[in-house]
C-alpha cells in the first residue's frame, strides 16, 4: 500500500535472487518453435549513438505502458576510500533541477504525465527510471536527457539533501543489526576490492562530503559514452531510437577517467569477526570468494564454473524443497532461517554467501557447523538427478514468470549491459544452467568453497532497553 517514494539503493540481494528466474528460451516447447519464439519474444534492438551512448529497446505490447531507464557506469566500486557513498549522494542531487527545469518542477512534470519514477544505486551502477503510459515516453526522455548534462548544483539544496542521505543511512543500516553485520562483513572479507565499501557510504564520509565532490563526480561520469538507455514496453523500436538520437544525440562524447583494476588480493586463511549490538537475535554471515560470470567472460575461469556455482546455490536454497529448508529448517529444526546466494553478476568477482539464524534455543555454533557440513557434503557427494531437475525446472519457469514485469526486463537488460556482461547474456543464461552436471557442482564446491577463502561474521546480541521489553510484553 505504501507507495515507493524512496530513492533507493538497488537491492543487490534481490536482484541476485531474481536472476535465477530469468532469461529466454522455450526448451519445454518443441525444438522447431524454440527459435521462432526466441526471435519473436526476445529480440532486443541495439544501437550505439555517435557519441557512444548505447540504446536497447525491447517490445512488449501486452499493455499500453513503457519503462525508460538510463544507466550510468558509476557506483560504489568506482569510488575510493574517503568518498564512499558519493555515487549515491549524487543520485539524490539528480532530482534537484537543471538549468531548464528548476528544482521541484522536475517532479511536477513527471507526475503530470502519470509516471512513477525513481532511481537506484549499487556497487556497479546508478540508474534512473520512469514507468508510464507508452504515449508519454518522449516527455520522460527529454527530462532524462536534460539531466544527463545540465544539472544545477545548489549549495543550499546539497546541504539539506546530504542530511536526507544520512537519515537514509540511519534507517537502512544503523538501526538494523543484520544490515550492520553485512556492512562490516563486506569490509573484512575484501581487503582492497572496492566491494568492501557500503553503497550508502560510511557515515564519516557522508559528513565530510562536499558539493564540489558531487560536481566533480557528475562531470566525470555523466556523459553519453558512459550510459545506456533502456526502453521496454509498447513502443516502436525505430521511433525510440530516433527519439534517443534527438535528445541524447546532441551531447558530445567525453573522455572517461581510467578505472583501475583493484583486483582483490588472494585470501590466505579464514577471517572471523564478531559484532556485539543491542539486538534480540543472533545472526551468521559466511562468504567464500568465488569468480563471477565476468571472470568466465574474461577467460579467467571456465565458462561452466559460474553456472555450476549458481546451481549449487539453488541446491542449497532454491525454495522450500532445497537442502537448507529441508534439512536445517525442517529436518533437524536447527535454523529459523538459512540462505545461500551466489553474487555472480557484478563487474568484479564477489562471493558465495551463506546466512543463518538459529532456531529457538539452538546455539549458533550448532547452526554454523550444520551449514558448513552441508558445504562439505557438496564436495564429497554428487547432487541427485531430481535436485538438478528441480533447479532446472525452476529456471525455465522463472524465466517466463519474470517476463510479466517490464520493469524487471528493463532492469536485467540494463544491469547486464552496465556491468560488462552484455545484454546478450540473457540468451546464454538458461542454456548455461541447463548444461550444468552434478560433477561440475562437486568440482566448484571443492575448488572454491574452502576455508582459506572464507570470511565469517557473527552477530552477538546485547540486551535492549529493559523497560522497553516489559512494555512490549504486555
Amino acid at each position: 500500500m505504501k507507495q515507493n517514494q524512496n530513492r533507493s539503493l538497488s537491492p543487490v540481494g534481490l536482484f541476485r535472487r531474481s536472476f535465477l528466474i530469468m532469461t529466454m528460451s522455450m526448451f519445454i516447447f518443441s525444438v522447431a518453435t524454440a527459435e521462432e519464439v526466441k526471435n519473436k519474444t526476445s529480440k532486443v534492438y541495439e544501437t550505439v549513438l555517435e557519441n557512444g551512448m548505447k540504446v536497447l529497446v525491447k517490445q512488449d505490447k501486452r499493455a499500453p505502458v513503457a519503462v525508460i531507464q538510463v544507466w550510468y557506469k558509476i557506483g560504489t566500486s568506482y569510488e575510493h576510500e574517503g568518498i564512499t557513498g558519493l555515487s549515491h549522494a549524487l543520485e539524490h542531487m539528480m532530482f534537484k533541477g537543471t538549468k531548464k527545469h528548476k528544482s521541484g518542477e522536475f517532479e511536477k512534470m513527471v507526475s503530470a504525465i502519470g509516471a512513477r519514477n525513481n532511481a537506484f544505486t549499487s556497487q556497479d551502477y546508478t540508474a534512473y527510471y520512469e514507468v508510464l503510459a507508452a504515449d508519454q515516453l518522449e516527455a520522460a526522455m527529454e527530462i532524462e536527457a536534460d539531466r544527463m548534462r545540465n544539472l544545477v548544483f545548489d549549495p543550499a539544496e546539497f546541504k539539506k539533501e546530504i542530511e536526507v542521505v544520512k537519515e537514509e543511512r540511519r534507517w537502512r543500516t544503523d538501526d538494523k543489526p543484520t544490515s550492520l553485520l553485512r556492512e562490516q562483513f563486506n569490509a573484512v572479507a575484501f581487503l582492497n576490492s572496492p566491494y568492501r565499501a557500503p553503497v550508502i557510504g560510511w557515515m564519516v564520509d557522508l559528513e565530510g562530503m562536499k558539493l564540489e565532490d558531487a560536481i566533480d563526480w557528475y562531470r566525470k561520469w555523466y556523459t553519453p559514452n558512459n550510459a545506456t538507455l533502456v526502453v521496454v514496453g509498447d513502443v516502436d523500436p525505430e521511433k525510440v531510437i530516433a527519439m534517443a538520437k534527438k535528445y541524447f544525440g546532441v551531447y558530445k562524447s567525453n573522455p572517461l577517467p581510467e578505472v583501475k583494476l583493484r583486483t582483490e588480493v588472494e585470501q590466505k586463511g579464514v577471517r572471523n569477526i564478531v559484532l556485539k549490538l543491542p539486538a534480540k537475535l543472533s545472526n551468521l554471515r559466511m562468504g567464500f570468494k568465488t569468480p563471477g560470470m565476468i571472470s568466465a567472460k574474461n577467460g579467467k575461469v571456465d565458462k561452466w564454473e559460474p553456472y555450476a556455482l549458481e546451481v549449487l546455490a539453488n541446491i542449497l536454497d532454491g525454495g522450500d524443497s532445497a537442502r537448507f529448508a529441508k534439512n536445517l529448517i525442517r529436518g533437524k529444526s536447527i535454523a529459523a532461517g538459512a540462505g545461500a546466494g551466489y553474487y555472480g553478476y557484478g563487474r568484479l568477482p564477489n562471493m558465495m554467501v551463506i546466512t543463518g539464524t538459529p532456531a529457538k534455543d539452538i546455539a549458533m555454533s550448532v547452526l554454523k557447523k550444520a551449514l558448513l557440513d552441508e558445504i562439505e557434503i557438496l564436495k564429497t557427494e554428487l547432487v541427485s538427478d531430481s535436485e538438478l531437475k528441480r533447479v532446472k525446472a525452476q529456471v525455465i519457469a522463472g524465466e517466463v514468470f519474470e517476463r510479466d514485469s517490464i520493469q524487471h526486463m528493463a532492469t536485467l537488460l540494463g544491469s547486464l549491459e552496465t556491468v560488462g556482461l552484455g545484454h546478450q547474456y540473457m540468451d546464454e543464461y538458461v542454456p548455461g544452467v541447463l548444461a550444468v552436471t552434478a560433477e561440475q557442482i562437486k568440482d566448484v564446491a571443492k575448488k572454491y568453497l574452502i576455508e582459506e577463502h572464507l570470511t565469517v561474521a557473527e552477530l552477538i546480541p546485547l540486551p535492549l532497553n529493559e523497560s522497553n521489553d516489559k512494555k512490549e510484553a504486555k
Partner: protein
C-alpha cells in the same frame, strides 16, 4: 508470442488486443457450492495465477492471536498424506510457486504456474490437495511455533515493527483489528493443531471464499478449475459453510493520545493517525484523491516537500489510508534522528492541520488527477497487477466495473468534496501519536490509557 500460444494451446481461442483497452475484462460467476469466481483471460504469456481468498484474517483470531497466520504457514506442511518435503518438491519440480498468508481481513492461498499441460496439471493437482486436506502435523506445528517465537524476537529489535504494533494496539483497543497478526509469546504458546482444524473448518469454506484466476487459460478451463477447487472445499464434511460473521464497526478515537516507547536506535520512528476508511466507503475516492497530494504521491506531496525537501528531516515521509472491511488506519509516518523528533512531528502536524482545514488547492487537485489518471494503465499492466485487483474487487464485493469507472470517478471529484471529506473524517484533536526511539523520559500519563 501469439504463435507460441497457438502451438501450446491449440484448442484455445486467442483473444488479442483486448488488453489494449484500459481495464481488463472480468468474468464472474458462482459455483454450485457457492464459491465466487473472478476470471480474466490474459493469453500473452503462458502463465496462470490463482488466488483463493477467505474472510479469515487475524481479525478472526479471537483470543488466539496468531492463529490465522499460523494456519497459512501450516497448509503446505502436510496434506492428503504427503509431507512438507513432498509438497514442496511437487510444486517446485514443475517450477510452480506456492504461497499462503494472511492479513487482518483476509487470508489467501496463491499459485503461479506455467500453463503447459504437464506443469499446470501437476501444480493444480497438489494445490487442490493442500486446499482440500491439510493434515496439520503436530511435529511441524511445534516447529512452526518455535519459528514464530523467533519472529516475535525479530520484531522486538526493529523499531519500525515496534511502532506499527503499538499503533494498531492503541488505535483499535478492543476491536479485532488490534489483534497482533503474528500473535504474542503467550498466545502462540497455547495454540494447538485442533485450533487450526477448527478454524479451517469454519472459515475455509465455499461461501466464505473467492477464487481469482488470471492468465492463459480459457473460460472453459477456468470453470473446470473453479469446480475442482469448490469441490475440494466441500469435502471433509464441511458442506458449503457460511460467510464469516461481519467484523464489528470501528469506534473513533475519543481523545488525543501519545505513546512513547524508548529504544536504543539512532532514529525515532513516528506514526500519527486515526481510524480512516473502508472499502466501498462513500468518501473513498475523495480521501484517496486528497491524500495523493497530502502524502501519497512521493515527491510532489506536501509532506515530502515540507519534511524532506525543504528541511532534510527524514528520508521517507508519507501519509496513507489503508481501506479495509471496516475502517482501516489513516496514518502519517516518518523517521528522523532522535534530536529532531519534536521538530519533525511539528512540521508534519502543521502540514496535516493545514490540509485538513483548507484541503488541496485547485492546482494541486488538478496535478493529482493528472498523475492518477495518466498513470492508470500501469495499474493493470502485468498479470500480477491484474490478479491483485480482481482478488481485491472480489473479496470486498466491489462492482465489477470498478476499474472501468476508476478514472472517471477520480476526474469527477471536486475540490469541495475533498475538503468536505477531510473535514468530516480527519479529527485533529483526536490523533494517536506513536514514537519509538530515544531514552526513557518521564512517562506521560497518556501512555497507560
Amino acid at each position: 508470442m501469439k504463435n507460441l500460444l497457438r502451438i501450446v494451446f491449440v484448442t484455445m481461442i486467442v483473444v488479442s488486443n483486448q488488453l489494449a483497452s484500459a481495464a481488463p475484462k472480468i468474468e464472474h460467476w458462482v459455483t454450485d457450492s457457492g464459491l465466487r469466481v473472478y476470471y480474466v483471460n490474459v493469453p500473452e504469456l503462458p502463465i496462470l495465477d490463482a488466488r483463493l481468498t477467505f474472510a479469515a484474517g487475524s481479525a478472526y483470531d479471537g483470543d488466539k492471536a496468531g492463529l490465522s497466520g499460523m494456519l497459512s504457514g501450516m497448509l503446505d506442511k502436510g496434506a492428503a498424506g504427503l509431507n512438507a518435503d513432498q509438497i514442496a518438491e511437487a510444486f517446485e519440480s514443475v517450477g510452480a510457486k506456492f504461497s499462503a498468508g494472511s492479513a487482518r481481513d483476509m487470508s489467501w492461498i496463491n499459485l503461479r504456474t506455467l500453463t503447459l499441460e504437464e506443469q499446470m496439471l501437476s501444480a493444480l493437482y497438489i494445490w487442490q490437495k493442500v486446499i482440500e486436506k491439510p493434515d496439520f502435523p503436530d511435529v511441524d506445528f511445534e516447529r512452526l511455533k518455535k519459528q514464530a517465537l523467533v519472529g516475535l524476537q525479530a520484531e522486538k529489535q526493529n523499531p519500525s515493527s515496534i511502532a506499527s504494533k503499538a499503533f494498531y494496539k492503541n488505535l483499535y483497543g478492543d476491536h479485532p483489528y488490534a489483534t497482533p497478526k503474528n500473535g504474542t509469546e503467550k498466545t502462540i504458546g497455547t495454540l494447538t493443531t485442533k485450533d487450526l482444524k477448527d478454524f479451517f473448518k469454519k472459515y475455509y469454506v465455499n461461501k466464505n471464499g473467492q477464487l481469482a484466476l488470471v492468465g492463459a487459460i480459457s473460460k472453459q478451463q477456468a470453470e473446470v478449475i473453479a469446480n475442482k477447487i469448490s469441490k475440494a472445499l466441500l469435502n471433509g464434511g464441511k458442506g458449503e459453510g457460511n460467510k464469516a460473521v461481519a467484523i464489528p464497526e470501528v469506534k473513533p478515537l475519543t481523545e488525543a493520545k501519545t505513546v512513547r516507547i524508548p529504544f536504543p536506535s539512532t532514529q525515532a520512528h513516528v506514526m500519527i493517525g486515526q481510524p480512516g476508511n473502508k472499502r466501498g466507503d462513500k468518501d473513498y475516492f475523495s480521501l484517496y484523491l486528497g491524500n495523493h497530494g497530502l502524502g501519497g504521491s512521493g515527491f510532489t506531496s506536501r509532506l515530502m516537500k515540507e519534511v524532506r525537501v525543504k528541511r532534510g528531516l527524514s528520508y521517507s515521509v508519507y501519509s496513507y489510508f489503508i481501506p479495509m472491511q471496516e475502517n482501516g488506519p489513516f496514518m502519517v509516518g516518518l523517521q528522523t534522528k532522535i534530536s529532531q523528533t519534536d521538530e519533525a512531528i511539528k512540521v508534519a502536524r502543521e502540514v496535516l492541520e493545514k490540509f485538513q482545514k483548507e484541503g488541496p488547492t485547485e492546482e494541486d487537485l488538478k496535478a493529482s488527477k493528472l498523475n492518477i489518471t495518466g498513470g492508470f494503465p500501469l495499474r493493470t499492466a502485468s498479470n500480477d497487477d491484474i490478479i491483485g485487483y480482481i482478488a481485491m474487487i472480489g473479496f470486498y464485493g466491489l462492482p465489477l466495473d470498478y476499474l472501468n469507472t476508476f478514472t472517471d470517478t477520480v476526474e469527477n471529484i471536486s475540490r469541495d468534496q475533498v475538503v468536505d471529506a477531510f473535514k468530516r473524517r480527519i479529527h485533529l484533536d483526536k490523533m494517536l501519536t506513536v514514537i519509538v526511539g530515544g531514552k526513557a523520559v518521564n512517562e506521560e500519563k497518556a501512555t497507560e490509557k
